[in-house]
């Protein structure tokens, strides 16, 4: 039933470009965080880019997606605008949420991103709900949710697998198993560390792939998305990978060996794809380098743009709390004082 084909060189460059854009975005953000330019919590997926790039490469623009606190990559791969993302990290008014929500809350309805999420596991039923809307309305959309190994221990993951299987929802569960949840290794938080196993009782097709091999990810995702779009129901794709950085920027990482990190850095998904491309045509070295440079350039421009945006004013505090304004009666609003705190 597989529809997978080996991609051509242009497709491979498409994947490479996405991975470079993610890497450039996150490397830049970590630098800005270290410099004290950015504030808040920042969780990056450096080293895990193949999952985002591989899965999203087989999605349509209007397909739906949710992700976690570590979601920059998925958002970029799904088509979010890097400048608006960067502005959100900067806390500026051109950001996706007007600079009010930060790194863990990128949403872009135009490209089907229902939202990243700071609550572990919460995006899982939301994606299934997107799939339900698609099924009932017959839009043909597939919904994908990205989540970590840690989210597998949240009850709502299992609840959602059950309902999705019962209703044959067009949803693909993509577990980005980077083998840690915060500072806790997966053997400590999962009775079985092979996440694909958890889908079996529900009769869901599930597979574990090398999450640093973008072509392997893409192939598995293609099959799962094809199945979902064809009305054959949900599946689970587990992508085994590793995060190079700490859980958040600033994490002292005492919980793991430097050697372990170094070993995984040798399995760089970007290098891996570059090598694949070169093995097809060794003259493409320059185009590979250019791809990276373009990505870095794009991110730098985004930074320049974002950092010049205005900081949101106090009027931003109450914007978008509701879609509909019922406040025809003035007392319904909690007035804010001139400078700040509201006065209930």
């Amino acid at each position: 039933m597989s529809v997978t084909q080996i991609p051509d060189i242009d497709q491979a460059f498409g994947l490479l470009r996405v991975m470079h854009r993610i890497r450039a975005f996150e490397q830049c953000a970590t630098r800005l965080m270290a410099q004290g330019v950015l504030e808040g919590f920042l969780h990056v997926s450096i080293g895990q880019e193949a999952v985002a790039a591989g899965v999203c490469s087989v999605l349509e623009r209007n397909d739906l997606m949710t992700t976690s606190h570590r979601g920059h990559g998925h958002c970029i791969a799904k088509g979010a605008r890097i400048p608006a993302m960067m502005a959100e990290l900067f806390g500026r008014s051109g950001g996706y949420c007007g600079g009010r929500s930060g790194s863990m809350h990128i949403a872009d309805a135009e490209v089907g991103i229902l939202g990243a999420n700071a609550i572990v596991g919460a995006g899982i039923p939301i994606a299934a709900g997107g799939a339900l809307a698609s099924q009932v309305r017959g839009t043909g959309q597939v919904a994908v949710c990205f989540f970590g190994d840690g989210a597998v221990a949240e009850g709502v993951f299992h609840e959602t697998l059950n309902i999705s299987a019962l209703w044959s929802l067009p949803v693909v569960f993509v577990c980005e198993n980077n083998q840690y949840a915060e500072m806790t290794p997966s053997q400590v938080h999962l009775a079985t560390t092979v996440v694909a196993e958890y889908a079996r009782p529900y009769g869901l097709p599930s597979v574990t792939v090398d999450g640093n091999d973008v072509l392997a990810v893409r192939a598995a995702a293609e099959e799962a998305v094809h199945r979902a779009r064809g009305g054959l129901g949900p599946s689970l794709v587990e992508c085994l990978t590793y995060r190079w950085h700490g859980h958040f920027e600033g994490d002292s990482q005492r919980y793991r060996d430097k050697a372990e990190v170094a070993e995984w850095m040798l399995k760089d998904p970007i290098e891996h794809l570059a090598a694949w491309i070169l093995s097809r045509d060794h003259r493409l070295q320059e185009r590979i380098a250019l791809t990276r440079l373009e990505a870095v350039e794009e991110v730098e421009q985004a930074v320049a743009w974002a950092s010049a945006l205005p900081v949101p004013g106090p009027e931003a505090l109450l914007a978008d709390v509701y879609a509909e304004d019922l406040l025809s009666e003035p007392e319904l609003a909690v007035p804010t004082t001139g400078t700040g705190g509201g006065r209930g």
């Binding site: 135009e110 939301i126 809307a133 709502v156 978008d320 879609a323 019922l326």
Partner: protein, 327 residues
């Protein structure tokens, strides 16, 4: 106008909205084939097919699917049988449904309706009878309504379903079989955020909602026998609270009594008092009072629930005390 029972008005609202907008879908435990644990969705699966579904017992995922379906363009109505079970769905209600519009800078709307029951009054015991409405009314991004009549059960539910924002509709099992006149109009809506003055009076403002409203009205009639004229306000919406209506009444009567089935601390009653003193302090002739159950779980036998929830006599007595009619 037709005379319907409260639950039939709920059923009618659901049927009309399913017919009116094909984006409306309905799911929850036992809502489809069984037609609802208490009959509210009777006949809807037969009429609307796969848009009405039975779910597993998974309150977190049910609500999460509702959030996602709403965000993706459907108009889901999910049922959480008792408000006590909302404890299993609070992340999706509070962190997700209520915040997605804000967190997406207005790009993603969540027109989700959550139907539930508060304060059962049917001997269901401590884990099936809590009045948890204040939790929800405290969350920016949510709307919360609590219909006290059959007409409102229809009109508020329909407004909730049509609202672009997430709305929790708190129905009352205690009122389930109460009859009332219900407009047959398929576009009959009760606006969110507006209280109703159910009875006018100049001596005392009584504020109530849900199952406490009929008791407040009965008490008002009884108080009138003692010469005390009570104005009864049915809040209908708990968030936003209709400050205008409450304040106008309190400014007029100078006295406030809130009657509620929830315990006192941090309740909607506390909030009504806060609002009243903040903006009508100079009009108050006596200290506002919240009449409510003792700070304890809800017992199951009627002999005790009748002593736990404020009864008509309790309200009459409080009204007399507040107005000095007995002093």
């Amino acid at each position: 106008m037709t005379v319907l029972k409260y639950w039939q008005a709920v059923n009618l609202a659901l049927r009309e909205e399913l017919a009116h907008d094909e984006r409306v879908i309905l799911f929850g435990e036992d809502v489809a084939a069984p037609g609802g644990a208490f009959g509210a969705s009777k006949g809807l699966m037969e009429e609307f097919g796969h848009r009405v579904r039975d779910t597993p017992i998974s309150e977190g995922a049910i609500t999460g699917l509702g959030v996602g379906a709403a965000a993706a363009g459907a108009r889901p109505v999910v049922e959480i049988m008792f408000a006590d079970f909302l404890t299993l769905a609070m992340d999706q209600v509070v962190n997700q449904a209520a915040k997605i519009h804000y967190m997406s800078g207005g790009a993603v709307q969540v027109p989700l309706t959550v139907r539930t029951l508060c304060g059962a009054h049917r001997g269901a015991g401590p884990q099936h009878s809590q009045s948890l409405e204040a939790w929800l009314a405290a969350v920016p991004g949510l709307r919360v309504v609590a219909p006290a009549t059959a007409a409102d059960a229809k009109g508020l539910l329909k407004s909730a379903i049509r609202s672009p924002d997430p709305v929790v509709v708190i129905e009352s099992l205690a009122l389930w079989n109460q009859r009332g006149e219900v407009p047959a109009d398929a576009d009959f809506l009760i606006p969110l955020g507006r209280a109703a003055v159910r009875r006018e009076g100049s001596d005392l403002t009584v504020v109530a909602w849900g199952a406490a409203v009929p008791r407040a009205l009965a008490a008002a009639e009884a108080a009138a026998q003692h010469g005390v004229e009570v104005e009864v306000i049915d809040l209908r919406s708990l968030s936003p609270l209709d400050h205008t209506t409450v304040l106008a009444s309190v400014r007029n009567t100078g006295r406030l009594l809130v009657v509620q089935d929830a315990v006192a601390p941090c309740s909607v009653g506390s909030e009504v008092v806060r609002v009243a003193v903040a903006d009508a302090f100079d009009h108050l002739r006596s200290a506002p009072v919240v009449l409510c159950p003792p700070f304890a779980p809800v017992p199951f036998p009627a002999a005790l629930t009748n002593r736990y929830f404020p009864q008509v006599e309790d309200i009459v007595r409080a009204a007399q005390q507040l107005t000095g009619a007995l002093v």
